[in-house]
Amino acid sequence: MRTLVKLSWVELKLFVREPITVIFTLALPIIFLFVMGGVFGNEASTDDGGMVVFRGVGPLDYYIPAYFALVMMAIGTVALPVHLAGYRERGILRRLRASSISVWSVLGSQLAVSFVIAIIGSILILICGIIAYSPNMPQEVGLLILAFLLGLISFTAFGFFLGAVLPSTRAAQGLGLILFFVMMILGGAGPPPEVLTGAMDIIGQITPLRHVIIILQDPYLGFGWNQNASLIVAGITVVAIALAARYFRWE
């Protein structure tokens, strides 16, 4: 336990000292937020004209909770896998293991750091959103926190899985970035999901991001708890954890 706390603290400091990761996980979603705000403003679409987009709410009300999920995805698809694969590739995991630092401490510290980053990232998004566009405030805070925990654990497990199977830093960077951008564009954090058609929509539907966005948006917007999406996210979590445990290697 002492080791887990120490390692978490060290890992948090290491994260802060790595500017690229900080920019990617914390700054990039904020930049996207301002781009989307600049393009769409925060006027809800009405159903008298064309199609209803952004689930019928203001674009910024849509994007703020969606970008909580984007921070989690940046951690799960890029930051964590690159970190873990790099640790394995360079023999850092071996070194930790030789000093009887358990796999639970290694992964537990990453989970702890992911939590801190995701919370900070989400608060930053909320603050920037409020300052620039005066959006709606979160409606059901208790459910939102629950959804936040579920989404974060899910993407962290996803990151453990990628970090377990990808053999090198390069592989993790390459695949991670592809996953990140594909999921972002098609999963509902790029253009409004309603404009995606055919294959793009189908791919969007199977990205974990789409469902994490929905479980976060529903309590945020006051739509309640989304049973279906939360079951899908929980399922992804279980599968990712099982695969990560199955394929985790120290070297």
Partner: protein
């Protein structure tokens, strides 16, 4: 009878026992058949050419690799089944490993010290291993030798009963090596046992109580350093320079086995009082070289003889 008693006594205090250890990677046989025992409080050395299987052997003992077969017993534990309990009581400096680039020296020591419940003072290690000035430097900014010293300090930070050092002094400057040797001796004084993998003959000779020479996955000889030298390299070399072309009369000295002449440099090999005999014979023939000297056999001669390889430091 006396020999029998000694054997029993030795077995009782053995802190490491290895029997018929074997490890293969596909078709590569890394460790073929290795058996040895290490007495508590000894510095035990493993010496051998590249790829001999030294690292594989010690990493099996540290529960970092799974051997194919063989018996291992360390501190009464089997690395295959009691890895966590074992790792807490040993210290490891691995031949290949790293730390996160941006971790600071003190953070690494503080982290690795946290695995043992006792409060350990890693500040002392910082001083001893000359890292006090670097305590706030990141791992990436350390020089090769400084990294190596940090890894040794990390191997000692949990106050281990057995310390595994795999090429500990590689990359250290001569002064740092001497300091390292003294510190390793002081670890032994404290009661810890040290397993030392090395390529440096002088290090093995000066530091080790017992020494195993490993070649192609097998132990080809095992004894004290002096024991190995007496047993495998009893011949001395007498060296001098002379422009005298014909030295064949030196062969009349019965103790001389071999004479090699390259340019003016003459090397005479033999056993017994070769120096005195050669000197007398030279004077007799009116040759009085000013650089006549003797070279005692060293561990390097043993190594070359047993492995047929020059380690080429």
């Amino acid at each position: 009878m006396a020999i029998q008693d000694e054997r029993v006594c030795f077995t009782l205090t053995a802190i490491i026992k290895v029997e018929n250890l074997r490890k293969t990677y596909g078709t590569t046989v890394a460790v073929d058949d290795i058996s040895f025992e290490v007495a508590e409080g000894d510095i035990f050395g493993l010496l051998g050419p590249n790829g001999a299987g030294k690292t594989t052997t010690v990493e099996c003992l540290q529960a970092l690799r799974q051997p194919d077969s063989g018996m291992m017993n360390i501190l009464g534990l089997d690395p295959r089944h009691d890895a966590p309990a074992l790792r807490r009581q040993i210290g490891s400096q691995l031949q290949e490993s790293a730390l996160p680039d941006r971790i600071k020296v003190w953070e690494a020591l503080d982290l690795f010290a946290s695995v043992t419940p006792e409060k350990l003072d890693w500040q002392v290690l910082l001083e001893q291993w000359g890292l006090a000035e670097k305590r706030k430097s990141t791992f990436a900014s350390l020089s090769g030798g400084q990294r190596q010293r940090l890894f040794i300090a990390l191997a000692l930070v949990n106050n281990p009963r057995i310390v595994f050092l795999d090429e500990m002094t590689t990359g250290l400057d001569p002064a740092a090596r001497r300091i390292a040797w003294d510190l390793i001796r002081s670890i032994r004084e404290r009661g810890a046992t040290v397993i030392l993998v090395t390529h440096f003959m002088d290090e093995a000779e000066k530091l080790c109580d017992r020494l195993a020479i490993v070649d192609r996955g097998k132990i080809v000889a095992m004894d004290t350093p002096q024991g190995l030298i007496t047993q495998y390299a009893s011949e001395v070399r007498v060296i001098f320079t002379s422009d005298f072309a014909d030295l064949s009369w030196l062969h009349n000295i019965a103790q001389i086995k071999k004479i090699t002449k390259s340019g003016p440099r003459v090397e005479v090999e033999g056993s017994g009082p070769v120096l005195a005999l050669v000197a007398a014979s030279l004077v007799e023939h009116g040759i009085t070289p000013t650089d006549l000297r003797i070279e005692q056999p060293t561990l390097e001669d043993v190594f070359l003889k047993l492995t047929g390889k020059d380690i080429g430091e």
